[in-house]
């Protein structure tokens, strides 16, 4: 009996390693290939000149002005999208929980809607709207913030809703109100500190999505990081792949940070990692990476 159990355990261990190995090769091989592509010269020698240039931002801006502009646009877009998303979504989600609980399902439905509409279809709808946006606000890439705010809603809503589910918002708000707090104080001093990790998650996911977005920017003729990488691919393939790789690593780093924040919060007992994981990091990563493919 003991021998049987030991054999089964060994078999399980071997299977586990095989799965890890196959998945490791599946995920790492393309990444290794990307890195190799950026450091290998046609004559077979290795050089890190592409990476050195990427690290030297000043020179990078002079050598590849379009890429630099795309990076700045995407960074600006990430910041503005996070801000608008938080300002719109957090008070709405809290208010719906406090005052309009029957509307919760509707809000969830509306927020999840962008997930079901392909980006290309979204663009068809957005194009005439953006004709007006361009008319009033000009053609800056930053105007994509509005479209991206809609695009990130499903992920951000899930994260914030999970955070709000972990606390008794209604009782906490009522306790604060009875102690003399106005709504702004309730929001700022009671609700926000208790859903901090959920807000962080929503922000990280938003940044990851915005940095990886290509379709909408390209079809609406705006320049962001991914559009710049795409263009760069036609003139300097190595730099294009190096920037793609860096963006990918940044997205992964953000998602790891997200998991880390979730775990730390879980230990304090307010929001569990499971709740934060309502949006799978791997799903976001694949969305962010897969946008351009």
């Amino acid at each position: 009996m003991a021998g049987l159990i030991a054999r089964a355990a060994r078999r399980q261990r071997v299977m586990r390693w095989i799965v890890v190995l196959v998945l490791g090769v599946f995920f790492l091989l393309p990444l290794v290939a990307m890195v190799m592509f950026t450091i290998r010269e046609p004559n077979g020698h290795y050089t890190f000149s592409t990476w050195r240039l990427l690290a030297n931002w000043k020179q990078l801006g002079q050598t590849y002005p379009d890429l630099w502009a795309g990076m700045k646009s995407s960074a600006g877009l990430a910041v503005f999208t996070v801000l608008i998303m938080l300002v719109m979504l957090v008070p709405t989600a809290v208010w719906v929980r406090l005052r309009l609980p029957k509307m919760r399902r509707f809000l969830e439905f509306v927020c999840l809607l962008p997930l079901t509409i392909p980006a290309i279809v979204l663009v068809v709808g957005l194009a005439p709207v953006y004709a007006w946006v361009t008319y009033f606000l000009g053609g800056s890439a930053l105007t994509l913030t509005f479209a991206y705010t809609i695009l990130v809603l499903p992920y951000a809503y899930r994260a914030i809703d999970a955070g709000l589910s972990a606390i008794d918002v209604r009782t906490l708000a009522e306790a604060a109100r009875s102690l003399g707090a106005g709504w702004a104080t309730v929001m700022w001093r009671v609700v926000l500190p208790n859903i901090r990790s959920a807000v962080l998650s929503a922000s990280f996911l938003t940044v990851a999505l915005v940095l990886g977005e290509f379709t909408i920017a390209s079809l609406l003729n705006r320049e962001n990081l991914q559009v710049a990488i795409d263009l760069l691919g036609k003139s300097s393939a190595t730099m294009s792949v190096a920037v793609s790789f860096a963006a990918l690593v940044l997205a992964f780093a953000l998602l790891f940070l997200l998991s880390f924040a979730g775990r730390r919060r879980g230990r304090r007992g307010a929001t569990t990692p499971d709740q934060l994981g309502a949006v799978s990091p791997s799903l976001i990563a694949s969305e962010a990476i897969g946008e351009r493919s």
Partner: protein, 354 residues
């Protein structure tokens, strides 16, 4: 501690004709209630009787459809919750999870722009008052349920509210802590002298803590009186039934009271039914004596041991069940099947004609 008491201004509270509906449900149906300065009134009633709605309207967390709320003679019906100056302890644990016990108590004082040192001192004093000064630095998740409710009480009292509102604060606690905390809340309330409205579905809690108890039914006060009155002289069959246990025994109204099982019992309200009417009398188990008698027509069915006293159920020949409270020392002579005689003590009873 003396400073605490002297700084509290007790005010009178008046709920005047409060009505509140949720769809087709009338949670409050013209509720009138006066609370004297410094008094602790408990609203008692079954789920859905409107007691919590009344408290929430007083707190400003719900708006009445009609009616007025007066605190210290001032109409505060339209005043938002944060301007009503009321401390509230909730049924659910309501401490702010990101703040320590001390910071939780400081919260209301901070909103009143008290200086840091002053509010820290006051919060410390309040935590001492509720008996958990040693846990001031702990976060809510590091405190037990009873400790959390103590902090919540300290937080509510720290702001020296005009009115203290307790919304079933003990219902989530285990029995022993509940009794302990209930006595302490009463002690502290007496000490600070804050006018208090306490909502509960637990009759024992209401009777033990309150100066006056209001029994509610379908959004109205069925009876408002001292705990002794509510228990000993229930105004209606509902009150007699809801507060404490009552035997519903058939009887007939006579000139001198109501005749039940061959004994004439005085009526609490002699106008409740005309002479000769068949009624149901509400007889407390402690008013029922059981005498072991081989000729007796009642048979013991079951007994439940409750410590110093026990409850014995006997069946009459017509299958009417009678519950009697006896000293536990007598349990050995009242084993199931024993023939007994039921003797009623002539304590005043309430009757219903239904």
């Amino acid at each position: 501690m003396t400073a605490l008491v002297s700084t509290t201004n007790s005010v009178a509270v008046r709920l005047d004709g409060l009505r509140r509906s949720f769809g087709d449900v009338h949670a409050l149906d013209g509720l009138d209630l006066d609370i004297a300065p410094g008094e602790l009134v408990a609203l008692l009633g079954p789920s859905g009787c409107g007691k919590t709605t009344a408290l929430r309207i007083l707190a400003g967390l719900e708006d009445p459809d009609t009616g007025r709320v007066l605190v210290g003679g001032k109409d505060v019906t339209d005043r938002p919750a944060n301007h009503r100056d009321m401390g509230m302890v909730f049924q659910a644990y309501s401490l702010f999870p990101h703040l320590t016990a001390l910071e939780n108590v400081e919260f209301g004082l901070m909103l009143r722009r008290q200086r840091a040192a002053q509010r820290r001192r006051r919060a410390g004093e309040m935590l001492e008052l509720v008996g958990i000064g040693a846990h001031a630095g702990r976060y809510p998740h590091q405190l037990s349920g009873g400790q959390q409710q103590r902090v919540a009480l300290a937080r509510a009292l720290a702001i020296q509210p005009q009115v203290l509102l307790l919304d079933e604060p003990l219902s989530a606690l285990d029995a022993k802590v509940r009794v302990q905390l209930r006595d302490e809340i009463r002690r502290i309330q007496r000490e600070v002298g804050t006018t208090t409205l306490f909502v509960t579905h637990d009759q024992e809690e209401a009777l033990a803590m309150a100066d006056r108890v209001g029994v509610m039914r379908s959004g109205r006060l069925e009876q408002l009186g001292s705990p002794e009155d509510i228990y000993g002289r229930p105004a209606t069959a509902f009150v007699a039934d809801f507060v404490g246990l009552s035997n519903r025994l058939p009887g007939r109204v006579s000139d001198s009271g109501v005749e039940v099982l061959g004994t004439v019992l005085p009526l609490i309200d002699s106008s409740a039914a005309p002479v000769g009417a068949a009624v149901t009398a509400m007889v407390r188990p402690e008013s029922v004596n059981l005498e072991v008698d081989p000729q007796g027509v009642a048979r013991v069915l079951a007994a439940s041991f409750l410590g110093p006293t026990s409850r014995v159920t006997v069946a009459l020949p017509d299958d009417t069940l009678v519950l009697a409270q006896v000293a536990s020392s007598r349990l050995h002579e009242l084993s199931p099947g024993t023939a007994t005689r039921v003797v009623l003590q002539p304590t005043p009873v309430v009757v219903s004609t239904a």
